[in-house]
Amino acid sequence: MTDRPLTGRARPDRTPHTLEEWRALGGYEAVERGLRELTPERVLDMVDEARLNGRGGAGFPAAKKWRFMPKPGEAPGDGPNYFIVNGDEMEPGAFKDRILLEATPHQLVEGAILAAYATHSTEIIVLIRDAYRDAIRNVSRAIEEAEAAGYLGRNVLGSGFDIRMWVHPSAGRYIVGEETALIEALEGKRAVPRKRPPFPAQSGLWGRPTTVNNVETVSCVSHIVANGSNWFQSLSRTQEGGTKVFAVSGRVNKPQVIEAPMGATAAELIEMAGGVSGNGVLRCFQPGGGASGFLEADALEVPLDFGHVRAAGSMFGTGTLIVLDQTACPVGVIARHMAFYARESCGWCTPCRDGLPWAARIMADIEAGSGHLSDLDILRMTVEVGGPRGRAFCDLMGGAMSPLGTGLARFGDLFEQHISDKCCPVARDHRRAAA
């Protein structure tokens, strides 16, 4: 279990533990210790020393985000600090938060209580996507049990600290996962991202100081408090602390969630996922979900963490690998991604609202064999305008441009063959080989 603190206690069928069962496994010891023996500042320092980076995609150090939260009385006006757990997992290829929400909801409640304590937040909201109904039910039940046991509510464990916690079921749209869009959604508005600054820690939900963290990030916190920062750091093979709940899917024989040390390699993870399926030979992979750039076989031994993957020219994102073998076409994958991001744009800014559907139409044409060589120039321009250094309002379009930009750079010949041969060359060659 200690090798896999986050998933080691999860039951194979994902039936969650009752509070009593969870306590029998050591659950809530960290909460008792934290709230009875440690100051909020000490909890924050432990998370800092543990080098816990946010697991929602950006990899921002959790403690650094928390330090922006004002202490009671420091922020102008009346009202609480809010701590929000982001369970809106919708990145293509991401299915790691689902298991943490469904199978170990008490782990999430524990982490959220400690995180709220460290950020002086008295209100915790867990936003969960509509499609995760089991997760909504299981987390809601865990909250009820924790309330009944006195871990939530007024004056928790005699600390003088009041915490309320509830679940907000969402109703679709990928953009809700962007933290300021998520805040808009909680306020009952269309989920359009906000301008920053002000950052949520200055002015978030209802204008109050707010921290938003991913499910997996929050699920790490109780373990850090229970076992110490050094222990958490020692789980990792790199400078970034902890294990990582990876997810491996696409062309692998046994797609699955795998908790492994931070810094595990794609080669190891793909092997644990039963190896490459299809013809068994890797063509490429996305290391961090749909919005991460393609890497190839030469990156199989890169230690997977935020820093190393960035240095390798991609993004670690959600740590969810999408694997393609030689019989899978990256152009087809990019076409799916573009259709997805175009549909999920909130429509606020022009490059994203109009640029993504344009790119999606072109990708559909190219895949169908009706593209033109001049289309590639338009796609490159779209990457230029919408990419990471581009002009879109939030990161949705920049993310969408990662697979397109790296795809054009790495697989330009495949794009051109689609256009010259008027069909998908990968599918055609595969059919010929099979015949």
Partner: protein, 158 residues
């Protein structure tokens, strides 16, 4: 048909949770949909009046969130994943087979009112690809195969 008294009471109640009428809008829409399967114009107007917001404000929210249905849906809504991992595992063939069997496309409902087919972004079921979530409890099903659509359409999955 107007909203049932208990639903009206629940909407009134929601107003007092989580910060007033505005954030109660989405929750109200969700409750109406849970009861009726979708949100009609009449129900939307009624809920807006109960919350003290305008119909336009309510519509503003209802039309943004893709899983608030503003048209009638079938007894069972099939949310078929169109993510890349499902595509890499034969998602298109499943999609084509379902569409052929039901005789409908995405966003459409069968004439007998039994099924509505909707495409949805990655459902977090990549370990069961190709996958879908079905019915009011959004049950995850997969891996699906074009030759065996019973898991998708079976009577047990209401």
């Amino acid at each position: 048909m107007s909203l049932a008294p208990d639903l009206c009471a629940a909407i009134e109640e929601a107003k007092h949770h989580h910060g007033g009428p505005r954030p109660a809008m989405l929750e109200s829409l969700r409750m109406i949909q849970q009861r009726h399967g979708w949100v009609s114009d009449a129900h939307l107007e009624e809920a807006a009046a109960l919350l003290g917001v305008t119909t336009a404000e309510m519509e503003d929210v209802a039309t943004f969130y893709s899983l608030i249905f503003r048209r009638p849906v079938g007894e069972k809504v099939i949310l078929l994943c169109d993510g890349a991992s499902c595509w890499l595992n034969g998602g298109d063939a499943v999609r084509d087979a379902v569409m052929e069997k039901l005789g409908i496309g995405f966003g459409e409902t069968t004439a007998d009112g039994r099924y509505t087919l909707v495409n949805i972004c990655c459902v977090g079921g990549c370990d069961h690809a190709p996958a879908a979530v079905i019915g009011r409890d959004r049950r995850l099903v997969g891996p699906l195969s074009p030759d065996d659509l019973d898991r998708l359409l079976g009577e047990d999955a209401r």
